[in-house]
Point group: C2
Chain length 321, copies 2
């Protein structure tokens, strides 16, 4: 029996499900968990989803509300949760009770009877979609919206390198279920708060170019965050800005944390190794995206970072375009 | 015989093709024409593509160079050209010689023996892909790159409302041909010039909110363009900025032209009619995207525009969210 078949049998035979999502919930964990919850209810079962953190307004349209009558949870499923630490305080008690773990993170370390882990999937929503199909449930429009949101948010709307042929094939099937993808994409990707726009303006004004334009560097200080009212969690997009500039190979973003320390996000485009640069400063990560922390004031943090970048640049020849 | 079958017969029976693209060439006209050119050559035929304008550096990787030996063109095909006016000066002489016209624009008014026009296609590249398949040619990796670039640029990387189930299905097949979609998407969507980044910063600094935040307005003056060295043709993205801000229903961009006149780009999100606002000022367009021209200085142009927006706002009740 394949893992997919075992997962189907587990869901078909059981009842009274609780589906766990991760803290700082995103479109994939909420969309995937909600679609599975809806599919189980369509099979005549009782199911709820749960999250330790409040649901951001942006994602509220995804979430299946609890069933009106409370019931005791007998089957525990996690979706898009790579580690029990990511369940958060409110759900920590379920950490050793997960029976079915559905995920796509290579780093997944959750112990569960059934681990439906597909690291080639761009989103947990891809795995859940195939599970729903395997269960014999025909997805309704709301499930299609939930799955599409999970896929589009985790794949950067089909731009990230995790996007595969299967990702597009599932999107094609979801379109046939009648979703309004433009409205979802607008909510997920296009809408920015006024504070964020003001912050982006300040960040762009702070941009510096180094090493003949090979490096672009921006900084987000506590003062900028406080003036704009933008929270740390909204800053994900900022780290992409500097590397998108023509001629730039390495884009660096320094974000000042509440304790004054700077958190560095480094992105490279083609030939520099972001991880090796960050390792010089006690950090690490992937070849194209890495990070580290630097103590001190902004000028000192920039100097340390530029020294590390300069050292890696000196090690290798710049390739022909 | 269907139009597709007639187009196949025409291409199979003929030889010595010239494939015409439109002026201000984009990813779709160049990608589609080049893929078709490559497919015809794979069938053992002679074919070249042509454009009245120089090929922007950004798109140079798409273009099939002319065959080394010149030859007299006997069959004329147009791709993604809606009107003979769009052939430009250098190709105007071919305007009444087009035998096969391949396009997806509803406004297409080209006279040709065979009009392979599919207005449901997100890109001409979708039509060309199906044509290549119907010809029995298996697309190679370069053709897949050309078709994918046409589709992704014309569909806003699968975000625009023209994206359909078929768009995703074709993308899935192209992925299976081994393309590096992340490199294409990076070149097409992510790379911005330093001048553009500086201009964007100035534009964001100029943002004004009106009507309780329902309207966001930005201006691009000649001075800003000259300082940043950005050309008018790079400004397409700017018009999207104001409407992407939370709570904004109508986003307005005023661009000063060389004669001092302001060109207004208006975008609405859900319930205001952009075209009706612009019609008040002698312009027009679509429900969600429209434009007009206003003479006078910046302050006067803003005042006229805000009056027109205010008048339309007064006509209708703001819907519940």
């Amino acid at each position: 029996m394949t893992t997919l078949e075992r997962a189907c049998a587990y869901l078909r035979e059981g009842d009274d499900f609780l589906i766990l999502t991760h803290t700082s919930p995103d479109g994939d964990t909420l969309g995937s968990a909600s679609a599975l919850c809806r599919a189980l209810r369509a099979m005549g079962k009782r199911a709820n989803i749960a999250c330790s953190d409040p649901i951001p307004q942006k994602y509220s349209f995804l979430v299946e509300p609890d069933l009106p009558e409370p019931f005791a949870y007998r089957r525990i499923v996690s979706v898009d949760v790579a580690d029990v630490q990511l369940l958060g305080d409110a759900l920590a008690g379920y950490g050793d009770r997960i029976e079915l773990c559905i995920d796509h993170h290579p780093s997944n370390c959750i112990r569960a009877d059934i681990r439906l882990l597909d690291t080639a999937a761009a989103a947990a929503a891809e795995v859940v979609y195939e599970l729903i199909r395997a269960l014999g449930v025909t997805p309704d429009r709301q499930m299609a919206i939930q799955i599409y949101t999970g896929i589009s948010t985790d794949s950067g709307c089909f731009r990230f390198s995790n996007t595969t042929s299967r990702t597009h094939r599932i999107a094609a099937e979801l379109f046939e279920l009648g979703i309004d993808h433009t409205e979802i994409d607008r909510r997920m990707f296009e809408t920015q708060s006024r504070g964020y726009v003001a912050l982006e303006q300040q960040v762009l004004a702070s941009i510096e170019y180094h090493f003949d334009g090979l490096c672009a560097l921006v900084a987000v200080t506590r003062e900028m965050l406080e003036q704009s009212g933008v929270s740390d969690s909204e800053l994900d997009g900022i780290a992409q800005l500097p590397r998108q500039i023509e001629g730039v190979e390495v884009g660096a973003t320094l974000k000042q944390k509440q304790d004054g320390e700077f958190r560095v996000s480094l992105r490279t485009n083609r030939w520099l190794n972001a991880s090796e640069i960050c390792e010089r400063l006690g950090g690490g990560g992937h070849v194209r995206a890495a990070g580290c922390r630097i103590h001190g004031d902004l000028a000192g943090a920039k100097r340390q970072l530029l020294e590390a970048i300069g050292a890696e640049l000196a090690k290798r020849e710049r390739p022909a375009v």
